[in-house]
Symmetry: C2
Subunit: 328 residues, 2 copies
């Protein structure tokens, strides 16, 4: 009875599945129970450490995503792959070999294993504003040339070219989401050059001191964790035809200067929160962050159905709600 | 006595050193005896087959450029590296794994070995018009976004990003020369999608039949072998400061349609030469060739001192002179 048959159940893989975005994505997919109308039968989470796996649909694998022995079973039969694992910008700049191994070689392995299976899985790759750099036009669009000025940005740009060609050849059905800087991330600072964009809000709201390493007029392009997860799920559900041959999408963000972020912090946490910030410019971080563009035309993303956050104050309030139990 | 000391002698490496461009480059460098004012003490030619090595300065190595055992000695101590070895466009499209291994993995190995030595060698990488594709602006400049629509073009674009970042980090001093299609190449047809751009002239002038796989109004962007060698030598001699962070240069070419090429053939070889061409469109070749741009702004290359050929007729005459002994 064609037309009445249930859609086949899917296997979904998330790399970086124990990480901040990976865990949230896993919870969201499990709660939805499906992706693009197909039920999720199995969700494989690969990461260096074992991810949370109380749901019977979850298989958690602890291992190196660059290790073919770890990855072969993880990828086999996958209908959708979310590749979130990465060495972040600051660390990839400091440790070039580690960045190349994780951000480039592991992606290549993943693409080759996906291709071997012959299932042409949906392949969602997160990318970054760091693919841009140098002299930028007044407004960055999906078609602005990629001229990274960090090794992380280079690795992400190379990844975009790889996913693009594997897609063109029919090996995977790729979609590349260029995420704005995620803010406010919960948890600890990491070694991303943009880590301060979360710390500046998170630490003061948690009663802790924090350092602002850039000047107040530094522009940032931000997306909340909720917004990032919504975009990643929407990106996987999009039809490939809607994307055509340009598989990379600049996601909508909030354009804000550091001074405005601190003003939003004051609205939510008061002057005592702002007083926990000390200012100590770090030229290495400033150099990386200032190479990223600040003004964006994301009309293509809007046409494809992506929505960002309304403003930075909403982002801070959502953080307080999700992580601090405010307004619950 | 500073200022009176002789410049130190150089070791120069050419990959693809037994190939068409590699052999010509080797002969040119040996005849010049120096590069950027420094005498050439040793010229290493690596290729799958042993290159011609009658000059005492030449060391010919036959081996796989992807093999670290072959490449370690070849790269050790090199002050300038010309990376010409590649799997050509048509073959890279047909055999994806071979193209990835040679056009991407071998480049990576070469860059890593160059980096290990800590000498920051000049690194000349030939690239291609195939890095472009999709909807192109009316005029392509050095800053037009790279959107390859072939695996060869993707591999070359990835190579540009790698050389750019290895240069930024101070591991090599890279310069990327985007060569127009080389015509007229002597010898046999190869598996480049653009192979016909030489065969169309070469075979008729040699009294042989040839097939034109594209329509007469197909635009091409061409450079003679002499022009290519001049550009490669000039590219190596340029100061890195003149290039800044944008290490890729679109070299000047001659913009010509296939019909005009045949008219030039008629001028040099007469109607009997033109009669040796049969027309049989090949959609696979047309698809690749038509994805390349035809109109170029090469003013940056001109400012950097690069000169192309005056017109296609001169190219055909130079071929007849160099290869057929005409006008000698």
């Amino acid at each position: 009875m064609p037309g009445c048959a249930s859609p086949p159940a899917m296997k979904v893989l998330i790399t970086g599945g124990a990480g901040f975005l990976g865990q949230r994505l896993a919870r969201t997919l499990l709660a939805k129970g499906s992706l693009g109308g197909q039920p999720i039968a199995q969700l494989v989470l690969v990461d260096r450490v074992a991810a949370e796996a109380s749901d019977p649909r979850v298989t958690a694998i602890a291992g190196d995503i660059g290790d073919v022995a770890v990855m072969r079973d993880a990828v086999a039969g996958a209908d959708a792959i979310f590749h979130l694992a990465a060495i972040v910008s600051g660390q990839a700049e400091e440790d070039f070999d580690l960045g190349m191994r994780v951000n480039l070689d592991a992606l290549r392995l993943l693409l080759d294993l996906a291709r071997e299976g012959g299932r042409r899985p949906r392949f969602v790759q997160t990318s970054s504003v760091a693919v841009y750099g140098g002299a930028l036009p007044a407004m960055v669009t999906d078609d602005t040339p990629l001229r990274p000025s960090s090794s992380y940005g280079m690795q992400k740009a190379v990844g975009e070219l790889l996913v693009g060609d594997y897609t063109r050849r029919g090996y995977v059905d790729g979609r590349i989401l260029r995420l704005p800087t995620i803010s406010v991330r919960p948890g600890k600072p990491n070694r991303a050059a943009s880590s301060f964009a979360s710390g500046l809000i998170r630490e003061p709201l948690n009663g802790e001191a924090t350092v602002c390493p850039v000047s107040l007029d530094t522009p940032l392009w931000l997306l909340s964790p909720r917004g990032a997860i919504d975009a990643i799920v929407a990106g996987a559900a999009l039809s490939g035809d809607a994307l055509g041959s340009q598989r990379a999408i600049n996601l909508p963000g909030v354009s804000v200067r550091v001074g405005e972020m601190i003003a939003a912090l004051e609205q939510v946490g008061g002057t005592q929160a702002v007083a926990r910030i000390t200012h100590a410019p770090d030229p290495a971080i400033e150099a990386i962050v200032c190479s990223w563009p600040a003004a964006w035309d994301t009309s293509r993303a809007a046409r494809l159905g992506f929505r960002g956050d309304p403003d930075f104050l909403s982002i801070v309030r959502a953080y307080a709600e999700d992580e601090l139990g405010a307004a619950k």
